[in-house]
Symmetry: C2
Subunit: 197 residues, 2 copies
């Protein structure tokens, strides 16, 4: 007995990552409860963002301008290029406030099973970018997953011919981490990379 | 370095139940990835639903018409009235396909702590509805929570003066339920209401 308008809305909401049919119904009811405060503004924000945002052709970030605000900013450290898997990872690094160079978003990781090779990611564009601009250091900031690390090794190999230094994020105990709850791999990495105090 | 349009969208998404700042960012990126297939249709579905849907004055259900399709349907069982806490509960009963009467949505449960009395819920409207229409049986289908059961007891008491029979959903072992994983209260209820085979 759910009307077609509501059914259509619930079906679209259920397609969002992390939402299923049940939570989509809950979200729809919540939205209808707060129509003027939430539902209408969300509808408009979706429309505005869909129209305004574009992918930066240089780095793959999302912004209202192309090149994006990061690529267009001349005050960042020119010689530094950080390779990330996704825009969300770029945002995470930006939130940390500890990186002032430029980015290159791959758009995923290599996967023989899913048929994702270097051409499906932005790896040719990366190699060209590194060669045509004076990059001093390339920081591989891919996820510490099997796919991320495989892609890291591939990139380190592919970037050997360039003059740039290739580095990767350190592995170890995360801040606030308790040894008892850490996996063996992290402990092994942290022990192997131990440093003198 | 997130643009204001995107920031506004993420902030609105983070207000949805079950989503936090991190999952809102993930949803926003997913939407931007599927602009024509998901983002624009969702924007439009939100707008359409916000305009079209209204609360039924008789039962409290959401529909494009008032009275809603259930209340306007003369083929349902006239003498049966089922009391539920929320519209989601009404939908759950409708999905089960096992109930053919009418509904009354309370809009919550009684709560002395939160200052929710009978007037804040649709209890006066319920009493009036029961008196003015020939209801034969009132089924209390509130949640099996402390608040739901308290409200059930209050309603059973308030409905004593009417001629209608007041019933409640049975408690017991849910289908597919394993005794080992059930709480003591459910087991006690199931044991107490045991039936001869």
């Amino acid at each position: 007995m759910i009307g077609s308008e509501l059914q259509a809305l619930i079906q679209l909401l259920a397609k969002l990552p992390g939402l299923g049919p049940r939570s989509a119904r809950r979200v729809a009811l919540h939205l209808l409860k707060y129509r003027t405060e939430l539902m209408i503004p969300l509808s408009e924000a979706l429309h505005t963002a869909a129209q305004a945002l574009k992918i930066c052709h240089t780095c793959g970030n999302l912004d209202t301008q192309d090149p994006c605000a990061i690529c267009a900013n001349n005050n960042r450290e020119l010689g530094l290029l950080c390779i990330v898997e996704s825009i969300a990872d770029l945002w995470a690094l930006e939130r940390s406030g500890s990186y002032k160079g430029y980015y290159h978003v791959l758009g995923g990781t290599l996967s023989a099973l899913e048929g994702i090779g270097p051409e499906q990611l932005k790896i040719p564009a990366l190699l060209q970018r590194v060669q045509s601009t004076g990059v001093r250091e390339i920081i591989l900031a891919l996820n510490a997953t099997v796919e991320g690390q495989t892609t890291s090794y591939y990139l380190a190999d592919a970037l050997k011919t360039t003059k740039a230094k290739v580095t990767a994020l350190a592995h170890g105990v995360p801040l606030g981490g308790e040894l008892d709850y850490l996996d063996d791999g992290t402990l092994t990495a942290a022990l192997g990379a131990r440093r003198q105090l």
